[in-house]
Symmetry: C2
Subunit: 363 residues, 2 copies
């Protein structure tokens, strides 16, 4: 564990060998070493994403990946069902709006998940929808949508499915091809044991078909240019080479651990987090049935502001908790438990939180 215990839902702490990997000398991103490194990363990502679809890497944050998903498959005026259960669902929606999509909203109260039946009903009410935007794991509330049941309804209705899996992929069960996800987006600083700077997308055959007629403008994020360049072993624009080094090492560690064990580890640390917080008398924000295995939202001790409380924990114990977004700011704080995280990190986090509880709260 590093000196600071960084318990936010990204950037996540890095394994020492990943930090070390970034010291490598720069290479030509049009040369054979880069081509091999990128190919190995993509092969490993396909295992963790459970896909045979194209997987492309963009030099961008996850939000850039969301924009790429939208602009490469849609045209202005296309009707889109936007399923939002929080702040990041809103962001995905706003991107589609900015580029001229005609938005049909399905809004679920914060803390709850969207269900397949609700999505099916929304699609029956708006049969001319072309695509559905869904957040797999809502980082702002710590809720994981039941993507498999949602995807089943979207595919039964014959719609294109675009999924923000930024903070879920690699950490929680997710079967891109079996479930029918057409475009999946994730980012290097979440489950992948790497620093921020790269977004990854998978594109199904249906997504490529949509790309062929998509009229929302795109250049930097043009996935066709990315696919062509990848075929040649490179990227269309100069990539974040040092982040590739880190990701390559992160993927090596993940492959060595094995997908099943990585998912099981996330289940264990999430259970430990939730049980530990509840045992202190703290109240969790998310519906327990859909509580996220990568991030937990929790109310501060009664009478305290969440941001004051987490600053106190940082000052006293060097444990960095995350604030909340939008109208939850100050009302809840969040504990990240994804990527390079083990039981000891969570135990130390719980100790720090417990030590700062006011005496009124039963410990």
């Amino acid at each position: 564990m590093s000196e600071v215990n960084l318990r936010i839902p990204g950037p996540t702490p890095l394994p020492p060998s990943v930090q070390e990997a970034m010291r490598r000398d720069m290479i030509n991103h049009r040369g054979p070493e880069f081509a091999q490194m990128q190919a190995e990363i993509v092969e490993a990502l396909k295992v963790f994403l459970q896909t045979q679809n194209d997987v492309l890497l963009l030099t961008a944050s996850g939000t850039g990946g969301l924009e790429a998903a939208v602009v490469n498959t849609l045209s202005p005026g296309d009707k889109v069902l936007s399923v939002s259960i929080g702040y990041f669902g809103e962001r995905f929606r706003t991107i589609a709006q900015v580029y001229g999509a005609d938005i049909v909203k399905l809004d679920i109260p914060q803390g709850q998940a969207a269900r397949g039946a609700q999505v099916a009903e929304a699609l029956r009410a708006a049969p001319d929808v072309k695509a559905v935007l869904v957040t797999h794991n809502e980082t702002s509330t710590g809720v994981t949508n039941p993507l498999q049941e949602i995807a089943a309804e979207v595919k039964a209705a014959g719609k294109l499915l675009l999924v923000d899996a930024i903070s879920s992929a690699g950490c929680v069960p997710l079967e891109t091809d079996a479930w029918g996800v057409d475009v999946l987006v994730t980012g290097s600083q979440k489950g992948w044991m790497a620093p921020p700077g790269l977004a990854f997308l998978s594109m199904s055959r249906e997504a490529w078909a949509a790309h062929a007629t998509a009229k929302m403008p795109h250049f930097y994020f043009d996935l066709k240019r990315h696919k062509k360049a990848m075929t040649e072993g490179s990227t269309p624009w100069t990539p974040a080479v040092s982040v590739y080094y880190a990701l390559h090492e992160g993927m090596r560690l993940l492959m060595a651990e094995g997908r099943e064990k990585v998912l099981a580890r996330h289940q264990r640390v999430a259970d430990l987090t939730r049980e530990g917080l509840k045992a202190m008398g703290l109240r969790l924000f998310a519906d327990p049935q859909f509580a996220s295995n990568t991030v937990t939202s929790v109310y501060p001790p009664a009478g305290l502001n969440a941001d004051d409380f987490r600053r106190q924990v940082k000052k006293a114990h060097n444990v960095v908790l995350a604030g909340a977004q939008g109208d939850l700011a100050g009302k809840v704080f969040r504990v990240g438990h994804l990527g390079y995280v083990h039981e000891a990190d969570i135990a130390a986090t719980l100790d720090a939180i417990r030590a700062e509880l006011p005496l009124a709260v039963p410990a």
Copy 2:
């Protein structure tokens, strides 16, 4: 010097302390450490760019920065004068085209520079042009446009000036405010002793005024969101934190050396490169009056393919030269001499090239 002598015009080699800086533990990009780091980087960039304008950092390649320059200041249908002297001038133009600009072309043969008088004439012929797109340093041919005289004509005509200074800024004389550059774009992997992954833009008051009415769609690259987040000490989306670490150290080294000395060093290594290549009997591609101080394009020895020759130099001496783009591929090769580069790197490069010359060429 590192074991491989990477002589391409980006990614450029990294100083050891920059490589070391990337090992730092991840931090919260919404916390005070990040805010201070970003503020210090921006202050140093303002010195090197000679500007009091806003300077914003994007997690993207330089091409993403070019897209940001276009979509934040223009609307579909706006008439734009696109001055192109090569491959990257074409790219800047294509971005504007993709987003619906009405392009007026000023094309200069490869190897030559655009002159102020030519730009003035083009503006007289198309008085309803709103903005002018210019490449300061055309990396594909090794030509530096006389930006000061071009800018004088653009500003005299009252047009917005968008400049691709990706491979010039920080290396060659460039006075953003004094010359009247409204939007300047550069990238971390060029003159800044850092790896790729970040693009920087400066935005003048006129550029912000144009932003207020610009209708080309943008979200990830929305500079207003970036400015707001920077005011709060952060970025709107998770930034490439490890590249920030590297850039912060690169800027520290550049500030310690001093802007005048950095520019003088680039002049010296460029002179050394050009004189050394000519002394071997090799022919340079660029008009000598406008030869770039950051990259030199050169014809291979007579009868040889440029790519075969540079592969031979790499194999025998571990000196990596760059190929050429577009219709110059195979016809010329390029020597990068920007960023962390000193006389010894160039001497070793010249030795390697000389050793591979066929006997027919006088040495």
